[in-house]
């Protein structure tokens, strides 16, 4: 800790250095002095500050984890008959974990291809003037509060999807996830997933677009010059370059989809775990916490925080899994 403070102090000094240096007229002699002496100090200060910032993040995260564990302990240690109306903690949390993963997975399955498509449209297909406006609108949509998405979900989307659900269950009802009878209000896990997808699309699109725009122009032109069509150029030059970035973007979207509370709480008519996506039922951890936190006290509050801890662990596990999958592909990056 003392080391961090020390380094922050040095970082401030380093910034002062930059300020004075840029203000004075740059004579050759001064420049030489800079690059040899002060420059070396600046390097240390700057790398120190960068390291300290990284350390701060770890410290915050450890603090959050410790907070969760301490607050969750009573629920984990108490006799299981006192938790969740005598249900016990693990039987209580298991359906929530499954519901959370299903909702986030469907949301990403919908959002990822669409987002990549939209980002490509903006970066490589649309006329330049139009693409700037479109990028602007997409960024804007990331800011709509989740309450509004929730309100839109119940008042517009859910009723609009009911005929579709009725058709799905009659045509494909033999598949368990489309089993009927469909919900009369449309407030199902599939609707919640679609709302989540709409919420994460701006995030994934925004990051992907920036990355697609950074593709080296020479690579693109080389591909086109070899006679590639636009799609072949994208496949050969743009997508390989952008792959790690796309994965980052999807991870950001995943985080949002896993942790989203308000929209799911408003849209989903929750219930016990069921396979069908067209009936009301299922629940996600974050929504469960948001719904029950205000009236919770004592042990039930600890139970909810333990649920938060489980979500934390689920996120960790999903990330580790994704990382393990990605690590089998060699990444391309300008900086390595």
């Amino acid at each position: 800790m003392t080391r961090t403070v020390h380094e922050t102090a040095r970082a401030t000094k380093g910034r002062d250095l930059t300020a004075t240096e840029t203000k004075t007229p740059e004579s050759p002699g001064r420049l030489r002095a800079l690059s040899s002496r002060q420059g070396a100090a600046g390097d240390k200060v700057f790398s120190g500050a960068a390291l300290a910032a990284g350390a701060i993040i770890l410290v915050v995260l450890v603090a959050v984890a410790v907070f969760l564990v301490v607050q969750a302990m009573p629920a984990l240690l108490a006799p299981q008959s006192q938790i969740a109306n005598g249900e016990g903690f693990w039987p209580y949390i298991f359906p929530l974990v499954v519901g959370t993963i299903i909702a986030a997975a469907i949301a990403l399955l919908i959002a990822t291809p669409i987002s990549i498509g939209v980002a490509l449209f903006i970066s490589h297909y649309a006329p330049r003037r139009l693409s700037q406006i479109l990028g602007y609108i997409i960024d804007l949509l990331a800011a709509i509060p989740s309450v509004i998405f929730g309100a839109w979900g119940i008042s517009f989307l859910a009723p609009a999807l009911v005929p579709g659900y009725t058709w799905l269950s009659s045509a494909l009802g033999w598949i368990p996830i489309f089993a009927g009878p469909p919900s009369a209000t449309g407030k199902t896990l599939l609707t919640a997933s679609i709302v989540l997808a709409v919420m994460v699309i701006p995030i994934i699109t925004s990051v992907c677009r920036e990355i697609f725009l950074q593709t080296p122009k020479l690579h693109e032109e080389a591909a086109l010059a070899l006679g590639a069509t636009r799609w072949e150029m994208i496949r050969m030059a743009v997508l390989p370059f952008a792959r790690p970035g796309i994965i980052s973007a999807v991870m950001l979207g995943l985080g949002r989809a896993l942790g989203e509370t308000m929209a799911v709480a408003l849209v989903l008519s929750s219930g016990p775990l069921i396979a069908s996506l067209l009936q009301s039922g299922n629940q996600t951890i974050a929504a469960e916490i948001a719904l029950n936190f205000p009236e919770a006290s004592g042990l039930s509050l600890n139970t909810l925080i333990a649920a938060g801890l489980v979500l934390f662990i689920v996120t960790l596990a999903v990330n580790l899994l994704a990382r393990w999958v990605i690590s089998r592909h060699k990444e391309f990056s300008g900086a390595n």
């Binding site: 920036e210 949002r256 934390f312």
Partner: protein
Amino acid sequence: MTAIATSRRRTALTRNRLPRYAPWASLAVGLVVGAALSTLVGFNFFGWGVFSAIIYTIVYVSWSGAVEGGRKARDKFATCLVVGAFIVVVLPLFSVIWTVLEGGIKGLLTPGFLGTSMNGVSGIQDNESVNTGSRVLGGIYHAIVGTLLITLWATIISVPVGLLTSVYLVEYGQGSRLAKAITLFVDVMTGIPSIVAGLFAAALFATIFGPGTETGFVAAVALTVLMIPVVVRSSEEMLRIVPNELREAAYALGVRKWRTILKVVIPTAISGIASGVTLAIARVIGETAPILLTAGFATKINYNVFSDWMASLPTYIYFQILNPTSPSNPDPSIQRAWGAALVLIIFVMILNLVARLVARIFAPKTGR
């Protein structure tokens, strides 16, 4: 005319090309067949659109495949998919924006909505305005002030930390164990439910400053926990794609690493970083739960983030929708809620413009 057309068809370059009218012809076929198909299952405009798009794609791509060959057809197919994705995404997003505009414009134009707080407004006033048709009292000024200040402080804390971390990850920590750990845990951090971040900040400040420490600053700290991972993740990506040639050129000129980062790497990536920071602000400006737990619930104007309760636009919207000021006449509350939502979106729009301006001022001139 005919002669020119014939000769054009004969040239080697245009021999295997679809005629100019091909997209329009396919579209016409798509619309007609789509209308027929959707009438079969019960006509509505949505179904017509979906069927038309599918038929159009099939006709256009197979026509191209027959005339131009597989590669061109695949290219056309990809174009159809990309444009299709765009249309698919535009529809719900515009529907959301339309809902907000439709509901919000009336509230926004009510005199006093932007300039007053909710101080002294209760169900009695709302019932009266519904019964007598007088204007809806009460405004969002206190919430605007709160949102701006809380978000400002959250940005002040998280942008330097986030940006420096991503610099560490890309420039200094390449492949080190610490860097790997940070990347992993930043990803985990994105999944922290916002309510947990709020609980954490509230507990932290209650431990240090005693119970009941509920101020705008505590809310800013809670938002920081949510904001940092987005800043790190997006700016890390943007720094990573800065071409190594630029760095190497700078080093070759004898420029120190930190100067290279500050003067070459960050300016090159600034557009993406600005967009990432905007995204991060956008992510937290609409958060409800953490602010509720950390900043109290004010109905009065408060300019000081370090003392007393503070309101914010999302909590305002949340309560006006879910707990109307007058339970029996929720309409005035709903009008205020949509008005506040519209204001929130306008803020983000302005913020976006500013971020773009910043990016343009700082970014080096490129060939694009």
